[in-house]
Subunit: 117 residues, 2 copies
């Protein structure tokens, strides 16, 4: 068994890249990417999300027409099966990544927990 | 070599827990925790940081006297060798964690990068 943390991190990278979650995500990205209408809608959705997130993080007001645009694009996204499947694959991958992080960070959480008692 | 991502994540947890960075951080936490004056100052510093961060994230105004209190406590922290050493150990651990995350997330970054072209 490797014991250097970076060696094991590289093993984990390789395992993630060979996982079912990654294969599915890669396939769903590709299906969306090569479909011009789906790709355009997906980019639009991501851009709106990022813009609203940035406004929220920097304490700027979100305008009524921005909320309406976000809702309109989100409704269109839900009608696009390629994007729906891509976002489902993203969520599955996100669940795996969160689980991994919870495992890795356990020793640090224990230290912080002990410190805040 | 294990190939299940969670098996490898547990290996990584164990390796992190056995690392020099972790041993140092644990020792520095303990030295601060058992020193009442250092512990009190450290808690005070963390509470102020968390309060200001929360205000910033929720877009609330940070008051002038809060800025001054944060500066005053930060100056006291820099005079406390136990806390200075603890924060240095936290930074070393943070560098290792960031490096690990960069390695693990590389396949996902590649997917996202390809998608945003
Ligand atoms: Ca289409
Ligand atoms: Ca003291």
């Amino acid at each position: 068994m490797a014991s250097n943390i970076y060696d094991i991190a590289y093993e984990l990278e390789k395992a993630l890249k060979n996982s079912q979650e990654y294969a599915t995500l890669q396939a769903k990205y590709e299906e969306t990417r090569i479909d011009p209408a789906a790709k355009k809608l997906f980019d639009q959705f991501r851009n709106i999300q990022m813009k609203l997130q940035e406004k929220q993080m920097t304490g700027q007001n979100i305008l009524q027409n921005e909320v309406e645009e976000a809702q309109r694009v989100a409704a269109m996204v839900q009608q696009n099966q390629k994007i729906v499947q891509l976002m489902d694959a993203e969520q599955q991958m996100s669940i795996a990544i969160n689980e991994i992080n919870k495992i890795i960070m356990k020793p640090l959480d224990e230290l912080y927990g002990k410190m805040s008692q």
